[in-house]
C-alpha cells in the first residue's frame, strides 16, 4: 500500500500521525473526522493518531513549528511532513502523504489542472 518504500522505516509499518488542534473549533473537528476517514480507507489497521490540543498546551507548538491550526504532522514514516488545514481536500491529502500509485497521482494531477483551466 505504501508507495514509497525507500524512506519507510522497515522496523515499523505503523504510521504515526499527530494532529494539532485548538479545542473544538469547527476546522479542528473536521480535520479529525477527515483524518480518521482517510486512514480507515487507506491505512487500515496500521496507523496511530495522536491529537495535540494547543489550547491546553500551547508550548507543544514549538516541537513541530506549528503556525496554523489544524495541522497534521506525519512523524513516521520519515521524512516527517506537514499538511495544514481541515484535510477536506482528500486528493491533496493523499497526494502529500503519497498514498497512491504514481501513475494514478499523475493522472489526478492532470485532471485537476485541466479542471481548473477549463473552468
Amino acid at each position: 500500500m505504501t508507495a514509497n518504500s525507500e524512506d519507510t522505516d522497515p522496523k515499523s509499518d505503523i504510521w504515526e500521525l499527530r494532529l494539532y488542534v485548538a479545542g473544538q473549533t469547527a476546522k479542528s473537528v473536521a480535520a479529525f473526522k477527515n483524518l480518521q476517514r482517510i486512514c480507515e480507507d487507506h491505512l487500515t489497521g496500521k496507523y496511530k493518531i495522536e491529537v495535540v490540543d494547543l489550547l491546553t498546551n500551547p508550548l507543544m507548538a514549538r516541537e513541530d513549528r506549528i503556525v496554523a491550526i489544524p495541522t497534521l504532522v506525519r512523524k513516521s514514516p520519515s521524512p516527517s511532513l506537514k499538511i495544514v488545514g481541515d484535510l477536506s481536500n482528500t486528493e491533496h491529502v493523499l497526494l502529500r502523504l503519497q498514498l497512491q500509485p504514481m501513475s494514478q497521482i499523475t493522472d489526478r494531477k492532470e485532471d485537476q489542472r485541466e479542471g481548473h483551466s477549463g473552468s
Binding site: 485548538a22 476546522k27 479542528s28 489550547l55 500551547p58 496554523a68 481541515d86 481536500n89
Partner: protein, 540 residues
C-alpha cells in the same frame, strides 16, 4: 561539511514547502486558528470567533459575493455566487468572471471592469440557464484593497422579478397614456356630430321620421361621449393627472346640473327621481363640473341597477361642518361579497338588467376618486340583493356667506336676452360651422374665422360681444389670440370662451391666464352654450 550543507538546503526546502502548504490552507479557508510566538510563549488565536459572523453572513446571503483581482479573476466567492453560474466554489476560484458570462455579455462586463478599477460601477447582465430560462442579474463592482493590492468587490443580485415587475408597470403606464390619447382623439369628431344633430333637429322640426332618427343619433352620441369621457377620466386618474378647479359653488346648482345630465337615462328607464334640496343655500369649495359628475354618476348608477319604473331619492343635509349627499334607490342592491370592492376599477354588478346602458365599470371608481380629491368620503350600503342601495357622499362645507352675486343672479334667468354679435374661431371648419349654427339658433349673429389672423382682422372691424376660440389653432394658438384680443381696448370685457379637447387643470389655468372667461371641453352642448351666452358681462 557537504552533508551539513545538504542538510541545510533540505531543511530550507522543507520549510519553504511548509510555508506554501500553510498558505494553500489559508487560501482555501481550511484553518480556523493560528499560533503566535511571543516572549511569553506560544499563544493560540482561534479565528472562528473573529470572522464567524462575517463568513456566515456572506455565505447565507442570497446575493452572490466575490473578491476579484484587478484583472477580474475570482479569488474568493460565496455559495450564492457559485450557484448563479451553476458551479462549485472550488471551480470558480481562479476563474475570470468574464469567462462565466455568456459570450454576448462579456464585452459589456470587460468595460464595466475597466471602469471599476477606481470607482464604483454597476450594470445589468443576462444569464441563460441550460434549460433556456433567462435571468437578469445586476452586478455591482466596488474597488477595494486586499492587503496592499488593489482588488474589486463584486456583488451580484438576481433582478429578474423586479425587471418583470418594472416591465409590467411600464406597459401599464403606456396603456394608460394610450387610453388617454385614444379618448382624446375619439372625442374630437364627436363635437361636430352632436352639433349637427342639434341643427338637424332644429331645421327639421315636425318631421317625425327625422326626429326619430336624430333622436337615435343623439342618444348614441351622448352615450359614446360619456364612455369616451369616462375613459379619459379614468386614464387621467391612473396617471395621477386629474386636478380640481375649485371655487365656491352652490350645491343646488350642482344638483340641478347632475339631474339634468342623468335625465335621459332616468326617463328612458321610467324612474321617478325625487330630489330633496337643502333648506338653506349650501356652499361648497368644489369643482362644480366634477361634483356634478359625481352626483350624476351616482344617479346613473342607481338608474342602471334599478328595474324600470323604480324610485330614486337624492337628499342633501348638513351634518356638523359636512355636507351630506345621499342617493337611495329601490334597485337590485349589492351583495355582501361585492360591497367592499364596489368602488374598484372595472368592478360591475350583475348587468343582465342593465346591459343596454353599457358602461365600462369605472363610474363608481371615478366617484370615489373625485370625492377624495375634494377631501370627502363616499360610502356604499346595501342590505343585500333586492334591497336597494344607498350611497353617501360627505364633503367639507364652505362657511356660509350671504353675497353670492353670480350664481344667484343668473341661475333663474331663462330668457335668451338680446341678440349679440359673436365670433367663432376654429380651423376645423366643420366644428366652426356647427358651433356657429348652434349659436345662430340661439338668436345671435355669428361670424366665423378659420385662423387667428382672420379673427384679429375681423375683431378690429366689428365689435363682437363674445368670441369662441379653439385653442389648438395653427400658428398663433388660441391662448396667444386671446391675449392679443384682450390687449385691444374694445375687448377688455368681452366674453372669451376657450374650446378644447383638454379639460385638465393646467389647461384650464392656462386659459384663465390668457384672459378667457370660460374653458369648455368639446363637444359643447346647446344648453351649455345657451347658459354661457346668458353670462354676458353687463355692457359698459
Amino acid at each position: 561539511m557537504t552533508i551539513a550543507l545538504a542538510d541545510d538546503v533540505i531543511e530550507r526546502l522543507q520549510r519553504l514547502e511548509e510555508a506554501e502548504e500553510t498558505l494553500r490552507a489559508i487560501r482555501s479557508g481550511e484553518i480556523d486558528a493560528v499560533v503566535v510566538e511571543s516572549p511569553a510563549g506560544e499563544r493560540v488565536f482561534t479565528l472562528s470567533s473573529a470572522d464567524h459572523a462575517y463568513r456566515n453572513l456572506i455565505e447565507a446571503a442570497q446575493q452572490g459575493a466575490a473578491t476579484l483581482t484587478s484583472d477580474g479573476t475570482v479569488s474568493y466567492c460565496n455559495r450564492a455566487f457559485a450557484a448563479f453560474f451553476d458551479r462549485t466554489q472550488w471551480d470558480i476560484a481562479g476563474t475570470r468572471v468574464t469567462s462565466l458570462l455568456p459570450f454576448n455579455q462579456q464585452h459589456l462586463f470587460e468595460s464595466l471592469l475597466g471602469r471599476s478599477q477606481t470607482q464604483n460601477g454597476q450594470g445589468e447582465f443576462l444569464l441563460e440557464s441550460a434549460e433556456g430560462a433567462v435571468q437578469t442579474i445586476h452586478i455591482a463592482l466596488t474597488p477595494m484593497l486586499l492587503g496592499n493590492h488593489p482588488a474589486i468587490c463584486l456583488i451580484v443580485t438576481d433582478i429578474t422579478k423586479q425587471k418583470e415587475h418594472q416591465d409590467l408597470q411600464d406597459s401599464n403606464r403606456r396603456k394608460d397614456e394610450f387610453l388617454a390619447m385614444l379618448a382624446h382623439e375619439l372625442r374630437n369628431p364627436l363635437a361636430p356630430i352632436s352639433n349637427a344633430i342639434a341643427i338637424l333637429n332644429h331645421l327639421m322640426k315636425g318631421d317625425d321620421k327625422v326626429a326619430y332618427v336624430s333622436d337615435i343619433i343623439d342618444r348614441q352620441t351622448r352615450h359614446l361621449s360619456r364612455l369616451v369621457d369616462d375613459l379619459l377620466d379614468v386614464s387621467r386618474i391612473s396617471l395621477g393627472k386629474i386636478k380640481l378647479q375649485k371655487e365656491r359653488v352652490d350645491l343646488a346648482t350642482i344638483i340641478a346640473r347632475a339631474a339634468e345630465i342623468s335625465t335621459p337615462l332616468l326617463n328612458a328607464r321610467k324612474h321617478q327621481l325625487t330630489v330633496q334640496m337643502p333648506p338653506t343655500t349650501l356652499f361648497l369649495e368644489a369643482d362644480g363640473t366634477r361634483l356634478a359628475q359625481v352626483i350624476s354618476n351616482l344617479l346613473t348608477n342607481a338608474a342602471k341597477y334599478t328595474d324600470e319604473g323604480g324610485s330614486i331619492f337624492l337628499s342633501t343635509a348638513i351634518d356638523g361642518d359636512e355636507v351630506v349627499i345621499r342617493v337611495l334607490d329601490s334597485g337590485m342592491g349589492i351583495s355582501a361579497e361585492l360591497l367592499p370592492q364596489i368602488f374598484d376599477l372595472f368592478i360591475q354588478g350583475d348587468r343582465s338588467l342593465a346591459r343596454s346602458e353599457g358602461g365600462l365599470g369605472i363610474g363608481l371608481t371615478l366617484v370615489r376618486r373625485l370625492v377624495e380629491l375634494h377631501g370627502g368620503t363616499v360610502k356604499a350600503a346595501s342590505d343585500g340583493l333586492g334591497c336597494g342601495s344607498e350611497f353617501t357622499v360627505r364633503l367639507p362645507a364652505f362657511p356660509p356667506e350671504t353675497t353670492s352675486h353670480e350664481t344667484a343672479a343668473n341661475s333663474n334667468s331663462s330668457d335668451k336676452g338680446p341678440s349679440r354679435q359673436i365670433m367663432v374661431v376654429d380651423d376645423n371648419k366643420d366644428a366652426a360651422t356647427t358651433i356657429g349654427m348652434l349659436i345662430n339658433l340661439l338668436g345671435h349673429e355669428v361670424t366665423i374665422a378659420n385662423s387667428s389672423l382672420e379673427a384679429l382682422e375681423l375683431a378690429k372691424t366689428t365689435q363682437f360681444q363674445a368670441v369662441f376660440l379653439d385653442i389648438g389653432l395653427p400658428g398663433m394658438n388660441g391662448h396667444q389670440l386671446a391675449r392679443c384680443l384682450r390687449a385691444l381696448p374694445d375687448y377688455r370685457n368681452t366674453l372669451l370662451v376657450a374650446m378644447t379637447g383638454y379639460g385638465q387643470e393646467e389647461d384650464i389655468n392656462r386659459s384663465i391666464d390668457a384672459g378667457f372667461n370660460h374653458h369648455c371641453v368639446k363637444p359643447i352642448e346647446l344648453q351649455r352654450l345657451s347658459s354661457l351666452l346668458q353670462l354676458f358681462p353687463t355692457p359698459l
